[in-house]
């Protein structure tokens, strides 16, 4: 018999994930036992999300206290698996809010799926759990587990439609390419472990402060593979080729959620690894990230110019946005990046909520022709879409402008002037394709009748538009929050 000393368990560090997982299982069990109306399941998931968000407030307060009065060590929980620093709590909070918005935006899809709606809701909650673990993990294996829990849920969500449609193809593509990316990521983790002997992110940083590595080849190859794996998840060029097909094929009710979650978690994980674990190696990775960033911006914004499908357009604009967000990491600070990721996620979910209204929640593909004269069919819907698109383009007085200004100035301050110039160029190009959609909505005639916007979609659009405008006019509170989101 060996004596096992039970480890200290700090429940507060995982309470949001615990609540989410219980909520997901709860939804499945309630569905099996009582077969309630979909509304009941929606209420359960809403309560779950609210409780989880409440716990992130508690965590935020505790993290703030620890920063002020000391005791930062207490923020590392479960033998170094999970951290509860401001960065993780901020990420969790954003993920949870986006999960709520995503569920609202996809609500009509959930209703259409009938009895399988419960699975859709549970998968959304489980994906949120996974990505939440990912942004809070201090251990690369834990991060991989979170990544897989989140990604596998998303692969399935991409194929959840009531009929056999193009969504199957999208789900299969996403699954195969995503699995490759995950495998590349875990291979990178293995090499990083071989090189440093550590899996914990804080311990890896410690390793680099204590030792000077004379032959870092294995470590650098590992790091490169990690960047490739995460670059795929956030659809940065040249790892973006899956995004247009998946965005186009997957049911429009979930695309916004899918894209937003993968981007938030992917960028936060990348920032944690690069900026917290291996800041000493920045001579090696900064040029690489800057290159990926420049390529993403140029490829994304130029190919988006010639797209005739609104979803592919949004996918390529997402590639460009991945490049913009990466300039924040090149800047070496997380404030601008956190702000950008937050406001972009809201815009993305809002934009795909519009797509879901226009082309139906389980449709695949939305030609730009469907949007001609949309502003006449439903002035409010057209205006909301226009505001969201202009926000993505970065028009002053929208959140997109503040976000771009934030990350660009960080990159400029870090000596990457050329990257900022490329970014400005790409921003100008991006106005062209966003305006193309807006012109089609406002200038073109249409014979189509008015369009009915469901209550849930109205809520999502109201919140998304309000967020985009408010964060553009009064960005200070959100910027302060992002600045307080310290990383251990």
């Amino acid at each position: 018999m060996i004596e096992i000393t039970t480890p200290e368990v700090s429940w507060i560090a995982i309470l949001p994930e615990l609540v989410l997982a219980l909520g997901a299982v709860g939804v499945l069990l309630v569905e099996v036992q009582w077969k309630p109306a979909t509304r009941v399941l929606g209420a359960i998931s809403a309560i779950t999300l609210v409780i989880a968000i409440f716990f992130t407030f508690l965590q935020w307060a505790q993290a703030g206290d620890a920063l002020e009065v000391g005791g930062l060590d207490e923020l590392v929980a479960f033998s170094g698996m999970i951290v509860m620093d401001g960065f993780a709590v901020f990420g969790r909070f954003v993920l949870l809010v986006m999960a709520g918005l995503g569920l609202l935006a996809g609500w009509r899809l959930v209703e259409r799926l009938n009895r399988r709606g419960a699975e859709a809701i549970a998968l959304v909650l489980l994906a949120t759990t996974g990505f939440s673990i990912m942004v809070a993990s201090n251990n690369l294996v834990m991060m991989f587990l979170g990544l897989e829990i989140g990604s596998i849920s998303l692969y399935i969500l991409a194929g959840l439609t009531e009929e056999k449609t193009k969504a199957d193809e999208a789900a299969m593509k996403y699954f195969l390419l995503g699995s490759f990316a995950s495998a590349i990521f875990i291979y990178g983790v293995a090499l990083l472990y071989a090189g440093t002997g550590q899996l914990e992110i804080l311990a890896i940083r410690q390793f680099f402060t204590e030792f000077i590595v004379t032959r870092p080849a294995v470590i650098l190859i590992g790091l490169a593979l990690i960047i490739v794996g995460l670059g795929f998840k956030v659809s940065a060029a040249p790892f973006h080729s899956w995004a247009p097909d998946v965005y186009q094929g997957a049911p429009s009710g979930v695309v916004g959620y899918m894209a937003a979650m993968a981007k938030i978690a992917g960028f936060l994980a990348m920032a944690r690894i690069l900026l917290t674990a291996v800041p000493q190696l920045d001579d090696s990775w900064l040029p690489v990230i800057a290159g990926i960033s420049a390529l993403s911006m140029l490829v994304g914004s130029t190919i988006a110019l010639v797209q005739s499908d609104v979803r592919r357009l949004l996918a390529y604009s997402g590639v460009a946005h991945a490049g913009f967000i990466l300039t924040g990491i090149v800047g070496g600070a997380t404030t601008g990046m956190l702000f950008y990721v937050t406001v972009y996620a809201i815009q993305l979910i809002g934009a795909f909520a519009v797509v879901a209204v226009v082309s139906g929640p389980s449709s695949s593909g939305s030609s730009i022709d469907e949007y001609r004269g949309l502003a006449r069919r439903s002035p409010a819907l057209g205006a909301a879409f226009a505001v969201l698109l202009l926000g993505m383009a970065g028009l002053p007085l929208t959140s997109g402008f503040v976000a771009k200004f934030g990350v660009f100035s960080e990159a400029w301050a870090n000596g990457y002037g050329w990257l900022v110039i490329v970014a400005l160029l790409a921003s100008v190009i991006s106005f062209a394709f966003y305006l193309r959609v807006i012109v089609a909505m406002y200038m073109d005639e249409t014979e189509e009748e008015g369009i009915v916007v469901s209550l849930a979609a109205r809520w999502v659009l109201t919140i998304a538009v309000a967020g985009t405008v408010l964060a553009g006019i009064l960005p200070a509170p959100l910027i302060d929050l992002a600045a307080d989101a310290f990383s251990l």
């Binding site: 009938n114 699975e119 859709a120 251990n139 829990i149 009929e163």
Partner: protein, 173 residues
Amino acid sequence: MAETILFVLMAIGALVGAVAIVAARNPVYSAMGLLGTLFSVAVLYVLQLAHLVAAVQVIVYAGAVLTLFLFVIMLIGVDKSEDWDEKLPYQRAFVGGLGGVIVLFAGALTVFGNFDWVPAATNTIPEATNGTIQAIAELLFTDWVLAFEATALLLTIAAAGAIGLAHHRREQA
């Protein structure tokens, strides 16, 4: 000495199996090649004193995973001809060259005994207790308990996903 001989035999076995997986035209032979590789690697684990990992390797991979592979192969049909066109030019040459470089690199490392490339690696023999069930259980239920529990979520996802994707699906309208 016996260890070295066993290592060389099993290493050759693993490599032959691996080549057979990609070279065999009949998928059943590929699966058998995989079986050979998995068994050889299991023996290599035993040589590293990782007995539990070796046992898990045989039970999970050679037992469960490979059986699943064979099931799928049989369900699809062994005799179906496959499309052998290779879309990427020079893909064989490229992979072969890359593999060669890696083998040379690893060989050079071993010959020259230079472990600076992988600072964390040691060439000391691990303690005999490291691979035992108790040692692994202790780690799994203390330091790694959260990771252990998180994998449970994956099973939930698999169940929910299988039902969601397969159940009550209407054919294309």
